[in-house]
Symmetry: C2
């Protein structure tokens, strides 16, 4: 397993720069509200690893494709992700994202809702601009899955009695659906055979599951400086993640630890020290290692699917992306 950001982002950089340009262009349309135009520009340029567009580009790489269509779809996926983060941060009333102040600290919540909607609209315009009805259909159903995952997260909150299956469905919608959709769109634009499209979609899903499990691990693992947001954030929101579920499974019914955890998850105890105590107990319980092993399983399953990719170099790059899902938490 590589410990640092693998070469794949360097290899893909020329295409990713085209994606960045397309995203910036789509988001910069003059809406005669200069402050909003400026803020949208800031969000879009803040960027992350461009993991989803990278996946989309790579899923087409072993096949024949029109680069302009591919870049347009990749920009659509990145902007859909950004729009979803904007609404997410409004809902969570998050003050920080990627270590920077969110829109919420600058605009009214009503304005942030509209800015998110505007970015959704621009991402839909990019999907439409591919003029590929399958790409548009994948785009629309992915948006549906994301909303469903976020609704689940909200309505599953503050309950400790959740099954692993509920968790899996939730993180599929919240995160893995867009990875799956990105890989599917890329392979569809590449004109890959149906069985290959299905395997690459599944690769994206497995990778996305691993990514979200590691994200949940990071929330109880890293300190604020590394993460760009405060540790224990999920617990504070009442969101029950895999590390918490694995920790809870090891507690005796009616024990002081179990009662304390239940009170924190239920939002009955919102004391910062109480949340910190749970974070430390999770760290000491072995739940982080167990959750990491689950993510590693997802990545192993993802990699096994790459046999369908005919080109060895592309396969290696996709493996690098899969490793990155784990490496970011190292």
């Amino acid at each position: 397993m590589k410990l640092q950001s693998p070469d794949v982002f360097a290899t893909m950089q020329p295409d990713l720069l085209r994606v960045d340009d397309r995203v910036a262009e789509a988001a910069s349309i003059d809406i005669a509200v200069p402050v909003v135009t400026q803020l949208i520009g800031d969000i879009v340029s803040a960027g992350g690893k461009r993991l989803r567009p990278t996946l989309l580009l790579l899923a087409a790489r072993a096949f024949r494709y029109d680069l302009d269509t591919l870049v347009t779809a990749a920009a659509g996926v990145e902007l859909l992700h950004t729009a979803s983060l904007v609404h997410d941060d409004t809902i969570d009333r998050a003050a920080l994202r990627r270590g920077k102040p969110t829109l919420n600290s600058r605009l009214s919540s009503g304005a942030v809702i509209l800015v998110g909607d505007y970015l959704f609209a621009q991402s839909a315009m990019l999907a439409a601009a591919t003029e590929n009805t399958r790409v548009v259909a994948i785009f629309a159903s992915t948006l549906g899955d994301i909303c469903e995952g976020q609704l689940r997260e909200m309505f599953d909150a503050h309950r400790l009695d959740q099954t692993r299956d509920e968790y899996d469905r939730r993180i599929y919608g919240k995160t893995a659906a867009l990875f799956a959709g990105a890989a599917e769109m890329g392979s569809v634009i590449g004109g890959a055979p149906p069985a290959t499209v299905a395997e690459l979609r599944a690769f994206g899903r497995d990778l996305g599951m691993a990514f979200q499990v590691m994200d949940d691990v990071l929330d109880v693992r890293a300190d604020t400086a590394d993460l760009g947001k405060p540790a224990g954030n999920d617990l504070r929101q009442g969101t029950v993640t895999l590390p918490t579920m694995l920790y809870a499974a090891g507690l005796a019914d009616g024990s002081a630890e179990a009662d304390h955890l239940r009170a924190v998850v239920a939002g009955e105890n919102e004391d910062a020290a109480a949340i910190d105590a749970v974070v430390w107990a999770i760290r000491a319980s072995g739940a982080i290692e167990a959750a990491t092993a689950v993510a590693e399983d997802h990545v192993a399953r993802a990699k096994a699917r790459l046999a369908v990719v005919p080109d060895a170099e592309t396969r290696a790059l996709l493996e690098d992306v899969a490793d990155f899902a784990l490496a970011r938490a190292s």
Copy 2:
């Protein structure tokens, strides 16, 4: 001008019932959150006049079309409208819509944002299901126009120094864009010649402009019982509409009335009696009649475009729809 709901809705009822079924089906997908499923069902079935789907259906009627595709597109347009109302009501913190409690009175604002997003996703899936790339492109750009119009409304609020042009651009995005898009989608699905598509799109836009001007008239004209929401709502939000602009244009600079109006619009005076006083002054000033004349102009322009519709019966039905934009306020 007809004073009551014209026959067009009766004539179109069989197709509109199919649209309703398609909307209900798209919105009812089990999201494993029963309370949300129930609330979404309530919003969707509350319905209005189904003016936008009627327009879309009629725009194809004189041509050759696949009814299933047409119904799917019409359902997409209606659901997009509903999604947009859900976010609108959250932003305005409105308690009533169509005389019924809004989602805001039942769910947290975060949940309402997600329900709106979910409905956007479902409407996008309907657009995608037409498998017509032009329809999808019109759908996406219409969504962009709507968001832009709503952002303009928000950032133009509380300022009395607005031009008529700013007002027109705002209500185009807020309302007329979807009427224009609906007419364009219908005529595209019907395979109408390009010049006819352009005229029918312009018909929809003119009709939508008339509809929004009348909506703004109604806000200062009707009482709560007729409107399903309190009168003077726009003034309370600081939204400067055409009746207010026309009233303001007749006031002498520095007069007590001008100062009072400016204070109410600026939100410096939020007293209910102060807002009522402005509403009464607008009613007495002739601004309502002048704004109504503007709406009548839009409708006359819309009707003049119908010469491109080859079939006399369809032309008559489209004229009925245009009349309805005015009649609703009679």
